[in-house]
């Protein structure tokens, strides 16, 4: 690991001793004192030990729209998510960050049970959306997915008109009232900051839009069904900086009314737009707290090393 500009005192160069789960650090000074540069979680994980996440107390102060409860996932024999427990606050933007393969996208796709579509997947634990279990036997997955909107990395407008894209979820629910469809279409496109650009060509093909516009269309489509939570999987990765800026501004406007869970590998984006940030590594939740704290003074040295670009 690349050292700090001023290295820690010589006494901490001794190899850290970690017999069992690392203690939940209360302050960076405390974790620095406990066996040098934190009780080294990464080594503990490599040994297959259970490691407690560092949760900032602020995450428990908010009402939660989504409760993730001791959630685990296996792809066949390989365990990809390890005992994840975290509340996702209502009306806020929560970012999931971590290096490739850490499980952030896997976790996101579990929220609306997209992973059901993969045969080899097995889960344990539960998630609750506004108190309703997501994984209990007998849950209607289709109805569940209507309560959530998902936007993917690559914009995926349907090969239809702009109008039909937006109102798709209403159509498949059997709604035919033209006034209602128009109203929902306008409200959603305004909500996605796209109305002014497309209001005169609602019946043109969505595929003719630019990448950034297509992505905002996908967001409009997602919010048309008035979901309880929006799941965004690296929504700006395929966009140029200006389109990215527009989508980020949009996310800021949507929060409050919507709760947003966003996966991003762009840490500056996470620090710009999110209220809370969860750092994941090797399928585990490492640290979770207010974004300002994660990016100024995280509890764990591992989090500090990741956000400063020293690993991952």
């Amino acid at each position: 690991m690349i050292p700090e500009p001023f290295p820690a005192p010589a006494s901490t160069a001794a190899p850290p001793k970690v017999p069992g789960p690392a203690p939940a650090a209360k302050s960076p000074a405390a974790s620095a004192a406990a066996g040098g540069r934190g009780a080294n979680r990464l080594q503990a994980i490599a040994r297959g030990e259970k490691v407690e996440p560092a949760l900032h107390r602020q995450v428990f102060g908010e009402k939660a729209v989504l409760e993730i409860d001791n959630f685990q996932l296996w792809y066949g024999q390989k365990k990809a998510l390890h005992e994840i427990t975290m509340p996702v606050p209502v009306g806020k933007v929560t970012a999931l960050i971590g290096p490739s393969g850490c499980g952030k996208t896997t976790l996101l796709r579990c929220v609306n049970r997209m992973n059901d579509l993969i045969d080899s997947v097995r889960i344990a634990g539960d998630m609750r959306l506004n108190g309703d279990s997501i994984y209990a036997p007998g849950v209607d997955v289709i109805e569940l997915r209507k309560r959530m909107g998902m936007v993917f990395q690559k914009p995926n407008p349907f090969p239809m008109s702009i109008f039909e894209n937006v109102v798709y979820s209403l159509r498949i629910d059997g709604i035919r009232d033209r006034n209602l469809l128009n109203e929902v279409c306008e409200r959603s496109l305004r909500g996605a900051a796209l109305w002014d650009e497309v209001k005169d060509r609602l019946h043109d093909s969505a595929l003719a839009l630019s990448g950034g516009q297509q992505q905002r269309l996908c967001i409009a489509r997602a919010i048309a069904a008035e979901p309880e939570v929006l799941l965004l999987d690296e929504p700006c990765s395929a966009l140029d900086p200006i389109a990215t800026g527009k989508v980020e501004d949009l996310i800021q406007e949507l929060k409050g009314e919507y709760s947003i869970l966003i996966v991003t590998h762009n840490m500056q984006q996470a620090s710009r737009i999110s209220d809370y940030t969860a750092f994941m590594y090797l399928g585990r939740l490492m640290e979770y707290g207010p974004t300002a704290k994660i990016f100024t003074n995280p509890l764990l040295p591992e989090t500090n090393d990741y956000v400063t670009g020293r690993f991952g």
């Binding site: 690349i2 700090e4 500009p5 001023f6 290295p7 820690a8 005192p9 302050s27 960076p28 000074a29 620095a32 840490m267 500056q268 620090s271 994660i294 990016f295 100024t296 003074n297 995280p298 989090t303 500090n304 956000v307 400063t308 670009g309 020293r310």
Partner: protein, 228 residues
């Protein structure tokens, strides 16, 4: 991206330590000039202040570049912020060392006076040691050492208040010595201010390491403010 940032942070570290070295040397020489009434040495200290001022400007510019070009976060941000603040305190210590050197020249022009009323040796060693300890704490990220610097300031403040009272008494008893007595008073005040800047540096080190801001703590507010 990381390598650019790492190199830049190393550069800042080198520059701030270089500045620290200049300032430590100036302070040491100024103290010596006062003790030995060495006017030539005093003039050297005053001339050296320019290189301290120029380096302070360079450090600030490098910090600005670091923030704008590399957008550091977390511990790196705290490091850059600490460097910006310590930079200012070091430059002020350099100025005060130059003022001390000026006082040395004034004192050398007067007949030797009874400096027993002011333990210059003791006070100056204490203050120089505080400056050195605060810079050592910066290099080794030693919070305990930085806390010692904060604690040492109490004694320096008390010594300065004592000097003020003694000078007051002496001026009424020996009014013809007023110039030297005022010079001694100024020297005591400069040492006390240098100590305050050393405490600032120590507090910035604590912030850099722990992310906690320790300033204006309750224990300090009981103190009678130093008479100037």
């Amino acid at each position: 991206m990381t390598q650019f940032l790492i190199r830049q942070l190393d550069k800042l570290k080198t520059m701030i330590l270089k500045l620290g070295g200049y300032v430590e040397q100036s302070l040491q020489q100024a103290i010596q000039a006062v003790e030995t009434r060495d006017v030539a040495l005093a003039r050297t200290v005053i001339a050296q202040d320019e290189q301290i001022d120029l380096l302070e400007v360079d450090v600030e510019e490098e910090c600005l570049h670091t923030l704008a070009l590399y957008q550091p976060v977390a511990s790196d941000t705290r490091f850059v912020l600490a460097v910006i603040k310590i930079n200012t305190d070091l430059e002020r210590i350099g100025d005060l060392a130059a003022h001390l050197a000026e006082q040395a020249i004034f004192l050398a022009e007067e007949p030797e006076t009874n400096t027993a009323l002011f333990d210059f040796q003791g006070s100056s060693r204490r203050v120089w040691s505080m400056v050195k300890m605060s810079l050592d704490a910066l290099v080794t990220r030693d919070v305990a050492l930085a806390q010692q610097v904060r604690a040492a300031d109490t004694e320096v403040d008390a010594a300065h208040r004592k000097v003020y009272r003694r000078v007051e008494e002496e001026i009424t008893k020996h009014p013809h010595k007023v110039r030297q007595l005022i010079d001694l008073m100024n020297i005591s005040r400069q040492l006390e201010r240098i100590a305050d800047h050393a405490v600032n540096i120590a507090e910035d080190v604590i912030f850099m390491v722990t992310g906690e801001i320790h300033r204006h703590d309750a224990e300090d507010t009981d103190q009678v403010p130093s008479r100037r």
